[in-house]
């Protein structure tokens, strides 16, 4: 029996290897996409400085004044945030600058100094920047420095009330390729699961190859086991090639554990294989399977955060994104690859993906036809 299952797997692998289309769509195409998107968009983040402003005590006039002045600067994209969250975002490379405005106490000290005589030092405006991106840091500090100087001028004309206190923070440098690799990996697994499985199975069925298996004494379930093993193997190989090329050629960094990434690849393969089986079971012809597969695959390809952060997608369709089975896979893979997160941190999403897989498997078994 095992020998028979292996014979099915081996034969199916051989056919896959001889199928140039499958090789192209499964391996070459995702890598081309990664190269293309990665090189086109790799410098985009330098155009605007995503600046997080921390306002410790709202309603103090000095801080409000600085904030208003910062808002006037076109290259700064200002968001008001808590200090801790803002610094974490800076470390993840999601912010270019974090500006901490003076709090109530500093302002009071300043006011006291005015009244009582002895000169207190200027009130600090702390600016955190990302050390790993020198140009961004330089530009950012330049802009903030100019704004502060202008404020000083406007307030007193005599002495500095405000002073920039710069502090570098080493962000984990997440390049476009680092970001893309997990997305492309997840997408490739989804593609070959949805499109590959249904194309192959409906093709077999249309050419009556499945029916031939029924005429042999080999148990049909064992035959399907062999086919599933072949897809799992090819998906894993395909994923490994993409991973290797991503890391070695595109210089993408994986900061998390490779083992976790492999586990995720396996989970993703099985889940989308299952969905692919369901699609091929539910469709009568290869064309129908192809259409249904595309209808399911395309929204996921563009909405699940594979090519760009899901934050860039309009608010109105955000809820939909949460329901797509590819989203949790992309998020878990990206978490592991770019933020070194553990698999446990993604249990919920992965369980959701597993629920999809089980539901699809039920449909596949229920509707499976040999001819």
């Amino acid at each position: 029996m095992l020998a028979g299952i292996w014979a099915v797997t081996e034969t199916a692998l051989r056919m896959f290897w001889r199928d140039k289309h499958a090789l192209f769509w499964g391996v070459v195409f995702p890598l081309m996409l990664m190269g293309l998107i990665g090189s086109v968009f790799s410098n985009v983040d330098d155009l605007t400085l995503r600046t997080a402003v921390v306002v410790p005590t709202p309603g103090n006039p000095l801080a409000d004044g600085v904030l208003a002045a910062l808002r006037e600067v076109p290259v700064l994209e200002i968001t008001i945030e808590e200090e801790e969250a803002a610094l974490a975002a800076l470390r993840r490379g999601e912010r270019s600058l974090v500006v901490v405005l003076p709090d109530q106490e500093a302002v009071r000290a300043l006011a006291g100094a005015f009244a009582d005589g002895p000169a207190a030092g200027p009130v600090p405006v702390r600016v955190y920047y990302d050390e790993t991106r020198a140009q961004v840091a330089q530009a950012g500090l330049g802009v903030i420095g100019a704004v502060v100087a202008e404020m000083n001028q406007a307030i007193t004309q005599r002495r500095d009330v405000l002073a920039v206190q710069a502090a570098g923070v080493a962000a984990e440098d997440v390049s476009m390729f680092d970001f893309l690799l997990p997305g492309i990996l997840a997408m490739a697994l989804m593609q070959s699961g949805l499109m590959g499985v249904s194309a192959v199975l409906t093709g077999y069925r249309e050419r009556l190859l499945l029916k031939r298996v029924l005429a042999t004494p080999f148990p049909p379930a064992a035959f399907l086991t062999g086919v599933i093993a072949r897809f799992t193997l090819t998906n894993m190989m395909q994923g490994l090639i993409i991973l290797l090329v991503g890391v070695l050629v595109f210089d993408a960094h994986v900061v998390g554990r490779y083992v976790d990434l492999l586990i995720l690849m396996f989970i993703g393969s099985v889940a989308f294989l299952s969905i692919g089986f369901a699609i091929s079971s539910a469709s009568k012809t290869a064309e129908a399977a192809n259409t249904l597969g595309s209808v399911v695959a395309f929204p996921m390809m563009f909405l699940s955060g594979t090519f760009w952060p899901r934050e860039l997608i309009p608010e109105s369709i955000q809820p939909l994104i949460n329901y797509l089975p590819l989203t949790p896979l992309v998020e878990a893979m990206r978490g592991v690859a770019t933020r070194s997160e553990s698999l446990a941190a993604h249990t919920g999403g992965l369980l959701y993906l597993a629920a999809w897989a089980v539901a699809a498997a039920v449909v596949a078994v229920w509707r499976f036809r040999w001819e």
């Binding site: 020998a3 014979a7 034969t11 056919m15 009556l208 031939r212 005429a215 042999t216 004494p217 080999f218």
Partner: protein, 248 residues
Amino acid sequence: MIQVMGLEKEYHGRPVVRGVSFDVQPGEVVGLLGPNGAGKTTTLRMLATTLRPTRGTAKVAGYDIVQEPLKVRAHVGVLPTDPGLYGRLTAAENLRFYGQLCGLGGAALERRIDELLEWLGLAGAKHQRVEEFSKGMRQKLALARAVIHDPPVLILDEPTVGLDVLASRAVINFIRESRKAGRSVLFSSHYLLEADRVCDRVAIIVGGEICAFGTPGDVCRAVGAATLEDAFAYWVERRAGEVDRRVG
């Protein structure tokens, strides 16, 4: 070797095969003859266990087609209407794959593959991909596949359809040699001359019912026909007449 007992098949309530009964003895060649849509393929598929009968059953090589389909499959070689070979695999790979599905393997399987390819004149195409094969070559390969596990019973659906004279002869020889090897052969055909020459007995099936069953000579004599073709025409026309009468 094959004993058919009141086999029936309905599609959506429409009877397609109605209470068919006949038998094939060990080492006997039986031809199933009938016009298009008579139910030949449906009958053969039920016997090959790829289609479940609505009612009735049959024993093939001693096993019940409904109760023990896996046993039946292990003892019957099937040539379907459409050969269904893997185009991206070579002749040898196709045979090896089916051999493995039938539980064969190792040197014995390799020997069997060479032997069959040699026998059917495909030795030169052993490592050629099947997508490059002509129709005759495919049919021969499908025959080789049918007997890869050396089954005592062969079920062939229109084995000579679309083949040229030489290829047809090769197939007929294959049937004759199979009989010589002690196999029972049941095959369907539209070529009555061919059936007359090779069959020990023939069954004429029209509208899902067997109208005549016996040696070609007996079948002709029963309706006073000179040739099998005349007997065939007699039964087809008579059935058409019955339908007319029923409708009119």
